[in-house]
Symmetry: C2
Subunit: 196 residues, 2 copies
């Protein structure tokens, strides 16, 4: 009997995600969301709740639909260090060129923004996922004899994960991709058994 929604909730959420990603949560008003999505405030509030709920949903979508595929590609690439190198190369390319150039990483940006518990939970999950994936890639590298002896793989995975935040953050402020690339290469080179 009832009416049905006149829009696709996930397609709208993607637009919202892009808006918050590019402009930040605090500096994006509901009016902008309305303008970007074409929805009315009623539909927005009825479907997603208030602004904070909307932001958390958008952030979750980002982690699932944007970050996760990147992590998965790394997980699926069994080459070890070359896989990690490819991950960083792709990361830097995406951050500095193309449709989302200079947007940074929405999850990385979120670390600097709020202290909201729901947000933090998503960020911790995001962090753990990347660290775990990095750790697996390092194990693969080690199994193929690519790594120097005596490396702490857990600690190194954490280190590379923190490095990714640096790349994301600086890319948003306009950092030169070649410089970023130089930094990530140095970090990886120092792990190699055969150094340069």
């Amino acid at each position: 009997m009832p009416d049905v929604k006149h829009f696709d909730p996930d397609a709208v959420l993607e637009q919202v995600e892009r808006l918050f990603w590019q402009r930040g949560a605090a500096t994006t008003g509901i009016a902008e969301v309305v303008a970007a999505t074409g929805l009315s405030r009623s539909s927005l509030y009825a479907t997603y709740g208030g602004k904070q709920d909307l932001y958390v949903r958008a952030l979750r979508r980002y982690v699932e639909e944007r970050s996760q595929p990147m992590f998965q590609a790394l997980a699926d690439d069994g080459r070890g260090l070359p896989a990690v190198e490819a991950f960083f190369d792709r990361l830097i390319r995406i951050r500095c060129a193309g449709e989302h150039a200079r947007w940074g990483c929405m999850a990385t940006n979120a670390n600097a923004e709020g202290a909201d518990p729901a947000v933090r939970q998503v960020l911790d999950q995001h962090h753990d996922r990347l660290r775990t994936t990095m750790r697996a890639a390092l194990e693969a590298a080690d199994a193929q004899g690519q790594l120097a002896d005596g490396l702490d793989l857990d600690a190194t995975a954490e280190s590379l994960t923190l490095l990714a935040y640096g790349v994301n953050l600086r890319s948003r402020a306009g950092a030169d991709p070649a410089t970023l690339r130089m930094g990530t290469s140095a970090a990886l080179d120092s792990l190699r058994r055969d150094r340069s």
Copy 2:
């Protein structure tokens, strides 16, 4: 003949700096600045200009009075890798405990916030300073035979600088200091001639 200011402009700027540092630029209102400083809006605007000018001034003060002393301590410590290690240890301690715990680094936070040119210039300066200081510390380490052969010191300095952003960022979102410490140690260990 004229009246003089009834307050110390730099002391007030320090309070403003702390406010923007802790709470972020976008989420801090002028009303809060007025409340925190005790100044009236008139004095605020007459002395510092609008909100954006005030924020840039506060950021500049942060870089000069907070970051620079940290960098200088690293520059003055000629021990090489132990100096870099001490830098990161101190950084993590400051970020996770004490008066400014979980505030992150104001400059790091600023990377995620705005695209303001004046802000970017300060951030680039901040980045260059740390990278240069890191590079000098690595040179000292190399001169003392602490480093593995064939390291690109410029690239490694960039890498460690990006790592510092990661530490700052994650500390703001509540990261465990021991985990951060693990990450920075791994990065430094991989540079050593004598590993493990």
